[in-house]
């Protein structure tokens, strides 16, 4: 291996300060993050590609109802599920889906599009029809729905809010990786915002906004107030600061996450990795549920 593998994942940005966060929840949350990290690290450790590692992490996170992606995705204003996901490899291949409610692992559908030379982005019923043709099993929408998310929607309807001020606020999940050959990848998956207007697409599935990877610069996965990340084209902006501005990953990420986004109401955070295996995980929200591992280092997890 000429390069040192590195892997990071996030399970969204949270709004509870540390003193109000249940400590037993923090422990089990970090254990889950580490379990998902291990899925991706096994790929890298075996010499596998970065794109497979990020998909392994994100698929594992989608299966945990605590996070707002796949099983446990939040409900829109009609009480329906609309999952969005994207994956990008540093060689420019990418796939993205929006408005998915019948594919168990939305990130796997995005991954399938990444393999299509002439397709990148599919939405809604057309994306689900494509999934059927490609052999993805159809799951009932009820697979995604949890009692917790139904309660959150009922509460959001009562208060007329579109996002909930709970620990679950941004449970978007994502991962970035550098593999042993210096190839990068990023993936992101989300259910969006509780009580969101049907048809709303946030930054997660938008290549350049919530998800981006280029082997010459970095791979980025974002979480937070999607509309602000869309306007700022955040993930590609980080890469452009490296490529054209010669900024370090740390300087680029901190300028965007700690200076620019807060001024625009862009609460959230992101994770990023360079071909040298440098990892940066940064948030302007009270917390970012995250885990990471570098070559020869131990897996680590943190919340605040």
């Amino acid at each position: 291996m000429g390069h040192r593998p590195a892997l990071a994942l996030h399970g969204g940005a949270g709004v509870l300060p540390q003193e109000r966060f249940p400590s037993d929840l923090a422990d089990s949350l970090q254990a889950e993050l580490l379990r998902c990290l291990a899925e991706g690290w096994a790929v890298l450790h075996a010499g596998g590609p970065a794109v497979e590692a990020v998909c392994a992490c994100v698929a594992a996170l989608e299966n945990i109802p605590w996070f707002n992606a796949g099983h446990g995705a939040v409900l829109n204003a009609d009480g329906r599920v609309e999952c969005d996901a994207a994956v990008m490899a540093g060689d420019g291949r990418c796939g993205a889906v929006a408005g998915i409610r019948s594919v168990r692992q939305p990130v796997h559908l995005a991954r399938r599009l990444l393999e299509e030379p002439g397709l990148v982005f599919l939405a809604g019923a057309g994306a689900e029809a494509y999934a059927r043709r490609e052999g993805f099993e159809a799951v009932e929408e009820s697979y995604f729905v949890t009692a917790q998310r139904q309660q959150e929607l009922a509460q959001a309807r009562k208060t007329g809010t579109v996002s909930l001020d709970t620990a679950e606020r941004f449970g978007t999940v994502g991962a970035v990786a550098c593999d042993g050959q210096g190839r990068l990848a990023a993936a992101t998956s989300t259910g969006g915002l509780t009580n969101k207007i049907p048809g709303r697409i946030g930054d997660s599935p938008v290549i350049g906004a919530g998800t981006y990877a280029c082997d010459d610069s970095c791979a980025v996965s974002c979480t937070g107030i999607g509309e602000v990340f869309l306007r700022q084209v955040v993930a590609h902006d980080i890469a452009a600061r490296l490529r054209y501005g010669g900024q370090s990953l740390k300087a680029a990420v901190e300028t965007v996450v700690l200076d620019e986004l807060p001024a625009l109401g862009g609460e959230g955070g992101l994770i990023a990795v360079t071909p040298a295996g440098e990892l940066v995980l940064c948030h302007n929200s009270p917390s970012l549920y995250r885990a990471w591992q570098r070559a020869d280092g131990p897996p680590q997890a943190a919340i605040f």
Copy 2:
């Protein structure tokens, strides 16, 4: 006016070389482009904002059946219309819609989202339900459909192609403007590709890919092979080359359009403007249907 207004529009990139292009068609095409340009120039001349000027141009282009946007949009593999549009102001406000088949002027729906602080991107039935709530008249899908597009779909189905090798190939429309106060805007509208897979979203409605504006750098509207423009985040990449790399608009556009995109199969072109009123219109395809005007200069149109 402290700034010199400038305006440009495009009606897509074409594939016919000049010697095979009917000269009477060229004349009437340029007359139409100039008529649409005048709609936007009237806004700038009256001291109006760039965002209103680009929407006036694009709305006029949507109404002309020759172009692949609004009335005359191409048909997908199911024989259905799916219009996409985006508009962005240089102050960061933006709106985008995908999969529209009941709103006469998709760019006006995108413009409505631009005015919403908490929303950017809506797709499909949810976007159309939003349009109804906002008072947009519902038009029958047949409003968009022309005999020409039905013939093109029949031909595409016969040959199994997703895009047609005719003069109509890329009839996406777009506009960029700098107003008298140095404010920028960009707008793009398209029916996508003939015989496209239902649900497919190209670069046009994706902020950063086909459409982008920032008052500190430039405004950009693209047309071409959407998937390549999506992967390259082309519009934001142009802006980032100016902002972080100190490149001139001309150098940035020519590097991307003439060097990078052709190597990736990214046939097409783009139009761009800076706050100084500098206009660049560039294409690697045989033609780019275009028109432009600078302060104190005459309106001009070109194809090749």
